[in-house]
């Protein structure tokens, strides 16, 4: 190759003058460095596939799973009905089960096949209407029906037992009404009738509380996992080394990570909210302001934790493992969005107080379903901000400006 063109470089004296000038007024160019770092981060976010995966593909997958695929709404549980009596009352009771919106009934005429179906999990319970049932009803002393449930799934078992009993009670009321006429029957209902009103979620749709949980996971993934990964990547690819050799200060570097991923987290949260409300029909009864305040308060500890993790592990693989253990799993298990904190033993309940998502979930659920109830939202926001402060202090203490 030929010699390079003459005078290939700027006059060093300019640079020197400039260099000596900038040592005196480092603060003056600080915002320029920060801006340049943020522009760089933005370009990387746009081009890196793993960012895309975590910030867009993963939220959509989680939203789909929690908003659409899985549902804890109890309906149409598969049960069998063993009718050992062919009288009219027995047939009416059987009809009551078949018509119940809660059961998907398989009629059988013996217990043995029901046992087999239970064993393989094809049904979760069965009801036996015993022989001689019709005559016993006529005698005024009905034989008890048998309700058998599959106890391997305790919640389902409780549900079947109480709803199967409910169907029987209704049937009984109408039987009595038939025999004794309208007037008496009103007095013959169950002596204490419980009239339920489910506030905020009258349709008992589990997605109402699962989707806010999914949004919490999404923000955790972006705030903690993605941030830990991108900082670890700087170390791994050697770009950190090059940056450290420039006059950059650590605070500029940290801010250049916090600001873009904060915006990305907010954007992803907003996207999820729009999809949740439009596609999954979630109510949104609070204000946008409250939603953003809650999300912002949560993203601070999430980002702080991510930066703290990456300060300790300068390797993407280790960072991702630690982020999973320290953020995703606690958010999933210990935030109370699926699993009831109150039912956990006290050491684990105590642990949940250290999980920032524990404070996010009630605030989010409230702003979606109930409205701006500040007595709930505000304390949670303050606690999350406190965690944010703590993690950032830890992060600054752990981040040293050196390769040692």
């Amino acid at each position: 190759m030929s010699e390079p063109a003459t005078d290939p470089l700027p006059d060093p004296s300019i640079a020197r003058a400039q260099a000596s000038g900038s040592t005196g007024s480092a603060g003056g160019s600080s915002h320029r460095r920060l801006l340049a770092l943020i522009v760089k981060e933005y370009a990387q976010i746009r081009r890196d596939p793993s960012t895309f995966l975590i910030a867009f593909a993963m939220p959509l997958l989680l939203l789909f799973l929690f908003g659409y695929a899985i549902s804890l709404d109890p309906r149409e549980t598969r049960v069998a009905l063993v009718v050992q009596d062919d009288s009219a009352p027995a047939a009416r009771l059987a009809q009551a089960y078949v018509h119940s919106p809660y059961f998907d009934v398989t009629p059988l005429n013996a217990v043995i096949p029901a046992r087999a179906l239970m064993e393989e999990g094809a049904i979760h319970g069965f009801v036996v209407i015993p022989p001689d049932f019709g005559r016993s009803v006529a005698r005024g002393a009905p034989r008890p029906i048998q309700i058998v449930t599959d106890g391997t799934q305790p919640n389902q078992a409780t549900f079947i037992a109480s709803y199967a009993e409910g169907v029987r009670l209704n049937w009984m009321a109408s039987e009595m009404a038939m025999r004794a006429g309208e007037a008496r029957a009103t007095g013959m209902g169950p002596p204490i009738d419980v009239s339920q009103r489910m506030w905020f979620n009258p349709g008992l749709q589990s997605r109402y509380f699962l989707v806010p949980g999914a949004i919490a996971i999404v923000m955790t993934m972006i705030g903690t996992l993605l941030t830990a990964l991108v900082v670890a990547r700087e170390w791994e690819r050697g770009t950190m080394e090059a940056l450290l050799a420039t006059p950059m200060r650590m605070i500029e570097f940290i801010l250049s990570k916090v600001l873009p991923y904060f915006l990305l987290g907010m954007g992803s949260m907003a996207l999820c909210t729009v999809i949740a409300v439009t596609a999954f029909g979630l109510p949104f009864r609070g204000s946008i302001f409250a939603l953003f305040a809650i999300a912002a308060a949560f993203l601070l500890p999430a980002l702080g934790l991510g930066l703290f993790i990456s300060a300790g592990t300068r390797n993407q693989f280790v960072a991702s493992q630690v982020a999973l253990l320290a953020s995703f799993l606690p958010t999933f298990l210990l935030s109370g969005f699926i699993f009831e904190i109150g039912s956990m033993p006290w050491p684990i309940q105590a642990l949940t107080y250290a999980v920032p998502a524990r404070y996010l979930i009630p605030a989010l659920q409230t702003v979606f379903m109930a409205g701006d109830i500040w007595p709930i939202i505000l304390p949670n926001i303050l606690i999350m901000l406190g965690f944010g402060l703590l993690f950032f202090i830890l992060c600054f203490r752990a981040t040293r400006r050196s390769l040692d």
């Binding site: 190759m1 470089l9 890196d48 770009t239 090059a242 420039t246």
Partner: protein
């Protein structure tokens, strides 16, 4: 602040000094009392094999690490307060692969506070200087190794610092890019910049103004390179016209007590004679009537070897214990019209050659030219799009498994299981190559003894010193006594004594009938080859013994006695000229 740089005025004050630097990692003393000074307007070389402590020292100078003892001063201040004055290019260039060439430049210009109004002209000049103007919009990750290097340099130069620290800028770069890089650095020193250039390539040391030779954390030598070579300048001879085959001649010469080092150089051998020994004449060497002995200029590497106490003996214990590969007229390695296409892109086009039993064949070429693709097709890692290949008589398509069991493979990067012990690595590779029971035990015992691995058997392979890693890798590759060996840049970054030891084994094996295929852009490795082929832009542009390539280059350039590196560059430039002529036609 006083102007720290006084270009071309006598002996200038150093821009950077380090005195008595000690750096300890755990138990290991990575640097053990090291002194160094970088002078403005000069290239200061920091030379040494991998693991010598070069990177640690540069990081201490750049303020990225604190030393345990000693002092560093950059422009009479601590490094942390002189970050504006330091241009630093880390080993992996510090480029953002997702960002374009231009975005990388803008980032570093902003980080270093280059005034916005000056940026446009600085970028223009830097892009012109590095010949990257055409690739401004290309992501850095999509650049070739040489171009990344230049961009890394440009990024370190945006604000024209008085001190430029370059950590192994020449590693993994082919001779052409390396030469361009040196031209750029020469330009910078003319501007008065003090450059510290670290390298494991000893031939680069000769290009520096001052050299610091670092080995295992200590300075072996400090001064102008000529001082080191000057001490031995009468003791290097070139022997030609001997009767024996060159490898036998070299082995015998190395076994002489007065010879402390020797290498092959085409048809000739080059010997370094020990201090205080009489330089032997043709008669003393006893290599046949036509033997000629001529003095030849000493090289930096000779000086290094001398300081390390000389190279190994010429006889290889490995070769002595190796089976004799049966003679055969059939070629041991054959490539017939090998072509590899990845989508639209042709990585290798119609590559053909044959390697007879007991020969070393070299694949040369710049990075990305197609030599690795060809190499990978021949060892079965890639399936050729067209053409065929065979190893030890087994066709790669029809009998790939047999072909694979007939070859031993050694990768450039240490690629054994670092978390397994030495013994476990040996066990695994014995089993992987079908050695079982007594056979395996015997093979493992043999290589353990030959390579002196006994004391390290329980140690994790990843924690071995570099030289032992090299030995273990070779041990694993030859345990099953394959008739063919594939070596991918086997000795890059290794200290010269280790490299000699390695080639002593290879030469010995070749005399036993083993056939070797080697890829390299290390030119003295090319000299060991019987034949080489030069691959450029996916095609073979020249083939033949190293001497004939050098002769071709001599005709092209009119230069007497060109080195292998000269030949490499001349042939590639001629190929470029042909290509342009064709395009023009």
């Amino acid at each position: 602040m006083a102007d720290p740089i006084a270009p071309s005025v006598g002996v200038a004050a150093p821009v950077a000094t380090a005195t008595g630097i000690v750096k300890i990692f755990g138990e290991a003393r990575a640097l053990d009392g090291v002194d160094l000074a970088v002078v403005p307007g000069k290239v200061t070389g920091l030379v040494g094999p991998d693991g010598a402590g070069k990177t640690t020292l540069i990081r201490v100078l750049a303020g990225l690490m604190a030393s345990d003892e000693g002092a560093v001063s950059i422009l009479e201040g601590p490094p942390a307060e002189r970050l504006d004055a330091i241009g630093y290019m880390p080993q992996r260039f510090g480029l953002y692969e997702d960002l374009t060439v231009r975005e990388n430049l803008v980032l570093y210009a902003e980080m270093r506070g280059l005034p916005r109004e000056a940026q446009e002209s600085v970028f223009r000049r830097l892009l012109e200087f590095t010949d990257l103007a055409r690739f401004q919009a290309r992501p850095a990750g999509k650049l070739s190794g040489g171009m990344k290097q230049k961009l890394g340099l440009a990024c370190a130069l945006v604000s024209t610092p008085p001190l430029l620290l370059l950590d192994e800028p020449g590693v993994g770069v082919d001779p052409i890019s390396r030469r361009e890089l040196w031209a750029m650095v020469a330009e910078l020193t003319r501007e008065g910049i003090g450059v510290l250039w670290s390298t494991a390539y000893l031939d680069e040391a000769e290009l520096c103004d001052t050299v610091y030779l670092l080995s295992e954390g200590r300075m072996l030598f400090t001064g102008p390179p000529a001082e080191l070579t000057g001490a031995i300048h009468n003791r290097v001879i070139r022997v030609t016209g001997f009767a024996e085959r060159r490898r036998e001649a070299l082995t015998r010469a190395l076994d002489r007590p007065d010879v402390i080092d020797g290498t092959l150089q085409g048809r000739a051998i080059r010997l370094l004679i020990g201090e205080g020994e009489k330089v032997p004449d043709a008669a003393a060497l006893d290599m046949g009537p036509d033997t000629q002995v001529t003095p030849t200029p000493a090289r930096f590497e000779d000086g290094f070897i001398e300081r390390l106490g000389g190279g190994p003996e010429g006889t290889s214990a490995l070769a002595a214990a190796y089976r004799e590969i049966p003679a055969s007229d059939a070629p041991a390695i054959e490539a017939k019209g090998l072509t590899k296409r990845f989508g639209e892109f042709t990585a290798a086009q119609d590559v053909s050659f044959t390697v007879p039993r007991g020969h070393i064949f070299g694949l040369l070429g710049p990075n990305g030219a197609g030599k690795s693709t060809t190499f990978k097709m021949l060892c079965g890692l890639l399936t050729p799009s067209e053409g065929s290949g065979s190893v030890a008589g087994y066709d790669l398509r029809r009998a790939a498994a047999r072909a694979r069991s007939s070859l031993g493979y050694m990768a450039q990067k240490f690629s054994l299981y670092g978390d397994l012990s030495v013994a476990q690595n040996l066990d695994f590779f014995a089993g992987a190559y079908d050695l079982s029971g007594a056979e395996a035990r015997e093979a493992i015992a043999r290589v353990t003894e030959i390579f002196e691995l006994g004391a390290h058997l329980k140690r994790n392979a990843g924690t071995l010193p570099l030289g032992f890693k090299q030995r273990l890798a070779l041990a694993c590759a030859v345990m099953h006594e394959p008739p063919v060996l594939f070596l991918d840049e086997p000795t890059s970054g290794v200290d010269p004594v280790m490299r000699r030891e390695f080639w002593t084994h290879i030469n010995g094996l070749v005399r036993r009938g083993v056939t070797v295929l080697v890829t390299t852009h290390f030119m003295d490795e090319a000299e060991y080859c019987d034949d080489v082929t030069l691959i450029y832009r996916a095609r073979q542009i020249a083939s033949g013994p190293p001497d004939s390539l050098k002769a071709q280059a001599a005709r092209l350039t009119g230069k007497d006695d060109p080195t292998m590196e000269d030949a490499f560059i001349a042939l590639i430039e001629a190929s470029d000229a042909d290509g342009e002529a064709e395009e023009a036609a």
